[in-house]
Amino acid sequence: MSSVKQNIKKITKMRLFFPIFCMILVLLINLIKSSAFFKVAVNNGVLYGRLIDIINRGSEIAILAVGQTLVVAVSAGTDISVGSVMSLAACGCCTMLAGYGVNSATSLAMPMIAGMIGGILLGGLCGAFNGVLVANLKIQPMVATLILYTAARAVGLVLCNNQITYIRYEPYKYLGNFIPGVPIPTAIFITAAVIAVITIFLRKTSLGLYIQSVGVNARASNISGINSKLICFVCYLICGLCAGIAGIVASSRIYSADSNNIGLNFELDSILAVALGGNSLAGGKFSMAGSIIGAYTIQAITTTLLAMGVSTDQAPVVKAIIVILIVAIQAPALRAWMEGRAARKLAAEKAAGQAHAGKEAV
């Protein structure tokens, strides 16, 4: 094999090849369409531009992707409740801050930080619920998280007394928009913080090792002394907390709790981010960096589609096709079929060669 081919092979085998390749592809498409894509300007003291927009708006997906990566890695399942949990966390936070039944609040019933933490903890509670169902009761992750997929949003509506609760209190908007005097959108800081905390936790403790171990072979992990059930539970808990944080950020953007719309379709985006990140949906080893890159790639895709005139309601069509393509290519059945074809071809060639040789011998 020539050295060029060897190098190409080496690069494609790199862990982060797939997500980076997808990201570059999307950026190129954008660049071709409009050269102004990479322009970054400063307006009114804040950074402005299509690129900044992507990194800003992709924050929720990135935060969700962090939790979703762990869930996929440890249990080969997906948490489809994350969008609804976002909504519940947002509703919980706003109701606590505004007081029950209050539609629009200009002053807060409790310190802002308390309300926000309350919302995040609500997310954690949902994650714990999912964790118990999956880890202890051994219910399939898909089915278990399906319960909160409906219930969480409905509970959120009830908390907000079936109306959109507005928090017209300036500092509340800082989280999802800008802190006065800081040109970078706050959401980017929050995302960076979440990623940093999780990454440090995974590296400094053995949790990352345990998660991968359990995801690859739970039985062998158990014999080696790891408590597989506990590790699985913790992953779902973290996913719930991430959904809570993402919900608060989303709520802060629109300084309200719109139960029906917050987090809508975000579960698809988070799963897509994990898949685009080169992570196998069958669990095991994972790459957090890949998922993060995947998350921003998804956001870039959404923004690109929007620029092409495809609304957020219509974008799921494209995303659904992408998911199916990725999963179909990963499918072992497809690989087996292709290998079978190659083997049959080889056998046919051999037989033809033998027949030919036989004919020649005669």
């Binding site: 399906l146 409906t150 799963i271 995303k319």
Partner: protein
């Protein structure tokens, strides 16, 4: 003696679940009659309204039961309903197309949708959840692609469709009651109810009396064994998803006759209702166990919860969703416990 026809032998924990379902329905309905007797809950029409409102859900749940028998799941049904309703509404209202070709088109869409999903699950062996989740987002996205506004079907758009939607089939008058003004109100049902009941009967016959129906149960019971016994597992799974989407389209037509509209937000979370109805009706999530009669009662319970909430008037409609989800959770946990007990007994 093992020879005696033992009730215990032919029963198992799952038959117990069906008894729980029927008992639960009777209990709920009776409670409603007692608590809301002043609001006319105990009239026969209340039960008939249950059938009318949930005709679409009945069809969809039958399809969901079929898929769940094979151990799979189809969460795209709600979005498929939205897409079908939008096709009907958009076609009749915006494009002035006649309703019968549109109905046929919707049924064909159902078949194609099911074929694609069935192929991905049966032949490429991708997890049903991922496949149908993609189907969910695809269909909902397509609904928005067709039209982002809410469309209503009026009498002018399609007189035929309108007449079907408002047709009343009267039942014997002695089942009726006299209202406050002394007029006898005759109980009635609508054509959608007939469609739904026919679907239930046909699916029941298929599941019990055809080879395909029994193959569904075998595949759900033990896929490896079924394959070794010579059954075509892949094709069975494909057909299951085709049926689910096809029945879902029939259900969509009933649903559209009820709502006479199409919108992007329509039938959001509907799949939960179908799954809940199936599970509450005794269908095991792991596959191999279930029947449409149980699922029918599951729909009744679902509908009763909703009716109880609306009759109350003071509760938010979201409570119906919460109650359904809670009941679903309860039954899932119950199934899990039964499975655990069975495993321990075996060991």
């Amino acid at each position: 003696m093992e020879r005696k026809k033992s009730l215990k032998g032919s029963m198992n924990g799952n038959t117990v679940l069906i008894f729980i379902t029927v008992a639960l329905f009777i209990a709920m309905y009776a409670a409603g009659c007692i608590i809301y007797s002043d609001k006319g809950f105990s009239h026969f029409q209340t039960f008939l309204n249950l059938l009318i409102t949930n005709a679409g859900l009945i069809c969809v749940t039958c399809g969901m039961t079929i898929v769940m028998l094979t151990g799979g799941i189809d969460i795209s049904v709600g979005s498929l309903i939205a897409m079908d309703c939008m096709i009907l509404s958009f076609g009749m209202s915006m494009k002035g197309l006649p309703c019968i070709p549109l109905i046929i088109f919707v049924l064909v869409i159902g078949l194609v949708f099911g074929l694609v999903q069935g192929f991905l699950v049966g032949y490429l062996q991708i997890q049903p959840f991922i496949v149908t989740m993609s189907g969910l987002f695809f269909a909902r996205g397509m609904t928005a692609v067709i039209c982002t506004k809410q469309i209503s079907i009026t009498k002018k758009d399609s007189p035929l469709f309108y007449s079907w939607a408002n047709a009343k089939i009267n039942l014997p008058a002695f089942l009726g009651y006299k209202n406050s003004r002394g007029k006898t109100l005759v109980p009635f049902i609508r054509p959608t109810v007939i469609i739904a009941l026919i679907v239930v009967v046909l699916v029941f016959i298929m599941l019990k009396y055809t080879k395909f129906g029994r193959t569904l149960y075998a595949v759900g019971g033990n896929e490896v064994s079924a394959s070794m016994m010579g059954l075509n597992v892949k094709r069975t799974k494909l057909m299951a998803y085709v049926m689910s989407s096809f029945l879902c389209s029939i259900g969509a037509i009933c649903y559209c006759l009820n709502t006479m509209s199409g919108s992007v937000q329509q039938a959001l979370g509907f799949e939960m209702n179908a799954i809940a109805s199936s599970v509450i009706g005794g269908t095991l999530l792991t596959g191999g166990v279930g029947n449409v009669i149980g699922s029918l009662f599951g729909v009744f319970i679902n509908g009763t919860i909703r009716t109880l909430v609306t009759t109350n008037g003071k509760l938010l409609s979201s409570w119906a969703n919460i109650a359904t989800a809670a009941l679903l959770c309860f039954f899932i946990v119950l199934q899990s416990i039964f499975a655990y007990v069975k495993d321990r007994r075996k060991a």
